[in-house]
Symmetry: C2
Subunit: 133 residues, 2 copies
DNA sequence: CCGAATCCCCACCGATACTG
DNA sequence: CAGTATCGGTGGGGATTCGG
């Protein structure tokens, strides 16, 4: 296409640039940590090795599918290990790696900030909603 | 329904419990921070007051719609202020509040961890993919 | 007991066009 | 300049069922 609108050219440039933004380490990790149930899994695993069923019971909100998916992603990224013990019934244990442990302080920093400021956020939101409508 | 399967009862219990998980401050903040473009907006705003267009140019990946949506959510939570100056052409400035500034160290902690460990994660993922298939 | 596989919905996000 | 309105595609995530 030799002819295209300015809007299209602008859109193309934005799409190209988005690749960089999305691949930036900070955003990649925020995406990963922000995934559903990931933070809870890491926190639960910080107490040591856990069986699949234990995790499921510790995090009742997660469906089996989501729990498995999150665990697989974390395993893929080298944040935890998955150990299958072929006995009957089957037994699968999950445990944080060194890399996974190194992530704990970060998550705890977020948790601490959240606990300290959640009331401010709630009241700010309430005030904003009350004024706006 | 006086009669329902054990599976249904279990599901109902999980749904009820999920309410607690989702409302936990840590997860709420992770959801908020993990939202698209939020981290980038905060980082950009850490340099001081910015106009809407400046933010748009600084974050070329975000569409107007997403940028506006994210800004409105952050304003609602009291993390930034939105100031309209009625001149021609229109001018709207965004600026972090004290609460918003207090979030900066947390985001930087995540960013720092990501920068330091992104290579480990990439190599772990590459190794995992190479083995698995 | 630990998943894999399947179906399905709707929430999110992007593109485009229009307004004050 | 700074949005709002609207439409459409996509995929995340939940329920359910089947296998080892």
């Amino acid at each position: 296409m030799t002819t295209r609108t300015a809007a299209q050219a602008h859109t193309a440039a934005r799409i190209a640039h988005r690749e960089h933004c999305v691949r930036c380490p900070t955003n990649r990790m925020l995406d990963r940590i922000g995934e559903k149930w990931v933070a809870l899994i890491i926190k639960e695993l910080s107490g040591g090795l856990r069986r699949y069923g234990e995790l499921g019971r510790a995090i009742p909100g997660a469906s089996q599918k989501m729990l498995t998916q999150a665990l697989r992603n974390l395993e893929r990224d080298g944040l935890l290990t998955r150990t299958v013990t072929p006995e009957v019934p089957a037994r699968v244990d999950y445990e944080l790696t060194a890399l996974g442990h190194s992530l704990l302080p970060v998550i705890q920093a977020v948790a601490q900030w959240a606990d300290q400021h959640i009331e401010q956020i709630d009241s700010a939101r309430a005030a904003h909603d009350a004024r706006g409508r």
